[in-house]
Amino acid sequence: MSGFDFSRQPLDPAALSTSLADVAAGGFATFEGWVRNENEGREVRRLDYEAFEELALKEGSRIVAEAMQRFGVRGARCVHRLGELGLGELAVWVGVASGHRAEAFAACRYIIDEVKHRVPIWKKEHYLDGDSGWVNCERCAEAAHAHHDHAHDHDHDSGQVIRTPPAAASAPDYSRQMVLKEVGLAGQRRLAASSVVVVGAGGLGCPVLSYLAGAGVGTLHVVDGDRVEASNLHRQPLFAMADVGRPKAEVAAEKLAALNPSIRVQAHLTRFTEENAAGLVALGELVIDCSDNFATKFLVNDAAVLAGKPAVMASIYQYEGQLQVARPDAGGSCLRCLWPEATRDGMVGNCAEAGVLGPVPGLFGNLQAMEALKLLLDLPGQLRDEILLVDLLGLQQHRLRAPRCAECAGGRCARITGLQPARVTEGLELSLLLEEAAAAGYRIVDLREPGETARAPITAVENFAWPMARLLDEAPAKLDPEQRYLLVCSMGVRSRAAAEVLRARGLQQVFSLSGGLAAEQQRRAAGS
């Protein structure tokens, strides 16, 4: 008996089952494909099946052999009908006998999926309106696809690249995770049917995206407006030197499609803003915050809370990080239960300023991927109403209770009424050369730490070294409210934050050097 056969006669499931009878098998799974009365909105009356028999038999037998080896099952068989079939007739039968049910289900699913993808079978549909049409087997669609090398379509207006799997895409072998009794076939199907929005394709986003793609999450939305930089590569393993300068979301989508061609990855080449937040969050059943700044993190949190969807959030700093899962869908706490007010960017360093070792976001991204899978698969032990702190230098962790705040304990979070636009203070930032600023009467204040200043001192103009922590501690007492100050740091993030704080304390003559010394040097080079 061959593992794969065609039949021109009606199939007899009972006889087929008997052909696999085995006293050592404790589980027997079957799949039956029936002729349906509808396809893509058209009513179907009957079907004709045709096959390239010689090739189809070889390929079909190969699939059944693969399934037996892969899943270690005792017996497997697939029979496909040919010729004319009426509505409700049995078109294809798959049976698998195995020691245990998990492998039986998995192998059965594998066989029917692969047969649909790979075996050259054509189906002619006869519609109720008298019309008829041939429906290609999926492999034939792939062959047609390969002729033109467009794996994706650009939609320039929306800044999106839509990457659809090739028609004959094969899925990875999920058996290692399906063997887990908490996952199984039902869990695998749940993953395939799920959609996740990932904000940020950086140090956190790379592991999150890789593991979710590998696990078979059916749709991934990658939101990132940045381009790949050489300084990203030590902590963002989806990217290579050859990708430098390309949009991160686009490169990530390519790599993920290669990793798992059976999923759909949609790249959104845009920052996550208060304008697009609600629309993007609506695309998934959960959102994962992998961004690198406070403004975006609070925006993700707020948009998720407003949409009533879980948000898996992580943030890192040098050798440590924090993990939190907002559960507005289940009466759980959110970021604002801990921090009612969004922290200003620049108050606490980002990766560029504070530095980071690659495995730190790597670990936290993995934790995020794990929490996301726990949510999607409804696994126990989910992080909720808690925050996890991990210090990778000291190898210490703290898991702290973080319940809902009193303000939203009774219902919706009262702290979030809408999405806040990014805070911008008009006229705060100046794009000058330092000499121009000094000549215009600005006192130049270098906010950098002593080590940074020593490595790259400011020599062009007279300036005051006043590290940010000390300045904020000593202001406003030690500043002259009538004097104009230009605050300077390396990238312009700290100086903007400090200027905002000082303005809030009543010093209206404080400004920030836009883009920091890095941008000032570029302006200098461009001008000379």
Binding site: L204, G205, R399
Partner: protein
Amino acid sequence: MPMIRLKYYALLREQAGCGEERLETAARDPAALYDELARRHGFSLPQAQLKVAVNAEFSDWSRPLADGDEVVFIPPVAGG
């Protein structure tokens, strides 16, 4: 005076120059303790931006401190 065990995270760890320390203090609550430490270590973050946990539970800034308490100051972080 009570002896308090302190743990610092992120920017506070950096500004304190250590991840943990023990301190004999007259501070009666976390708010007073943070004031004292901010002066000593030059902490730049205002207290309002921080969370404090005492003995692994988030706590009020006015909770009385006792000998042997473990106090953790947690700043928000944003890297990714």
